[in-house]
Symmetry: C2
Subunit: 247 residues, 2 copies
């Protein structure tokens, strides 16, 4: 049996159900390359009283040793956030089902709902998208198309900002704003300018969460501290949202 | 201090963080009119070892005794799903902040991410909306407009189906389909017909979750058992989604 278990957003977001499942697992893996939290793998290992094997991208997506093991024993794969919020983890579920390996998904708190802490209505969010860390050979723009689509139906856009914890790299809110401004200019759009109202969030759902609303230009210069980060470009605010964000 | 605590989707989704907070609370309230789960308030009371006061709509939204108490002692308000996924609960957070009452939000698993169990990509969902239980004087259609908007940007639509646990009423998936068919016909649209592919879900995130994909006509006749229910009208499926749903 494979237990696909969400760790949630912060320390001790693990559920009673997750702890019970973990107590029955012979092997515990932790996927460490798609996200991070306010605790270390070592702290988690102490909490569980079991050794935790950390998995990088290749081990999670290609080697799949944990999946083979799950055919003959109880194996837990721990992931940050909800168990299925990242495409990678949803694909593991699908792969396990294809191979007739039993899977139990244990859900956990996710940034998808924690963004409600901003005061923006969850029911007004459109498609969620990610902004990857760009490099010389990789400068995608598909997230900008999602912004255009969402604005078309007057929906808020949540951008999850990429991080590579294993390499100590993470996209800051200032960098994400710069990327959006550049694409806007390159495409001759008028949808994301220095005056656009944006909401920056760091460490949502933890005791150290930070939420700030301001123009893109102003927010670029704010230090949000440690990741994970997300950026929201709201649609036209309704009265309640405006009142709450103004604080 | 007010602790706004999510119970998650099923039994023992309560997190370690939530249990620690609850151990410090002098009063524990449970909001019982917006949703339900696979356990009873009595089971929860036994688990926590504390009396739980159940709140109906008036007590939660108007009387607000729990909020007054939170000014002088530690009070927990337990809600099904995530702590902030329902508009009502987000408004309580805003009200508490307005009155300068300290609030701590403790997130939990939500249907917003549990829908990933269907194999549909979370990043392809548009706005989420609810279908209320209609009556003689109340037949809203705004959820149909959300479907139209989402289809415009090729996004999946998640409909949460209303339930009134205190009155033993809940909208079934068959009833929701009938409502959507009727509005489609009345408006002379061609967006939701008997042939439209839909996905019905019951008790997502629990050990008894049921997911079925079929045409609207076929799904109308399926018995999904106990609530909560939701209905998804997918946008055009991508290859992976199609492959997964076909099983």
């Amino acid at each position: 049996m494979l237990y696909l278990i969400g760790l949630g957003l912060g320390w001790k977001d693990l559920s009673m159900k997750a702890l019970e499942a973990l107590s029955e697992c012979q092997e515990v893996y932790l996927e460490t390359y798609t996200s991070a939290s306010d605790f270390t793998p070592l702290q988690l290992q102490k909490l569980l009283g079991k050794p935790i094997h950390q998995l990088d991208r290749k081990q999670t997506e290609e080697d799949l040793v944990f999946l083979e093991e799950a055919d003959v024993k109880n194996v837990a794969l721990l992931v940050y956030g909800d168990a299925l919020a990242a495409t990678t983890h949803q694909e593991i579920l699908q792969l396990a089902k294809k191979r007739d390996i039993k899977v139990k998904v244990i859900h956990a708190p996710s940034v998808f709902t924690a963004v409600a802490e901003t005061g923006l209505s969850l029911y007004r969010f459109g498609k969620v998208t990610s902004i990857p860390i760009p490099n010389e050979n990789y400068k995608p723009e598909s997230f900008f198309d999602v912004l255009l689509e969402n604005q078309k139906i007057n929906a808020h856009t949540l951008f999850l900002l990429d991080l590579k914890p294993n390499e100590g790299k993470f996209l800051t809110i200032g960098e994400a704003i710069k990327i959006l401004l550049d694409i806007n200019q390159k495409r001759n759009e008028n949808i994301f300018t220095g005056e656009t109202l944006v909401v920056g969030c760091a460490r949502l759902g933890t005791s150290e969460s930070t939420i700030k609303a301001a123009s893109a230009d102003e927010l670029s210069n704010v230090d949000f501290g440690k990741p994970p980060f997300c950026l929201i470009v709201p649609a036209k605010l309704n009265h309640k949202e405006e009142e709450y964000l103004s604080k």
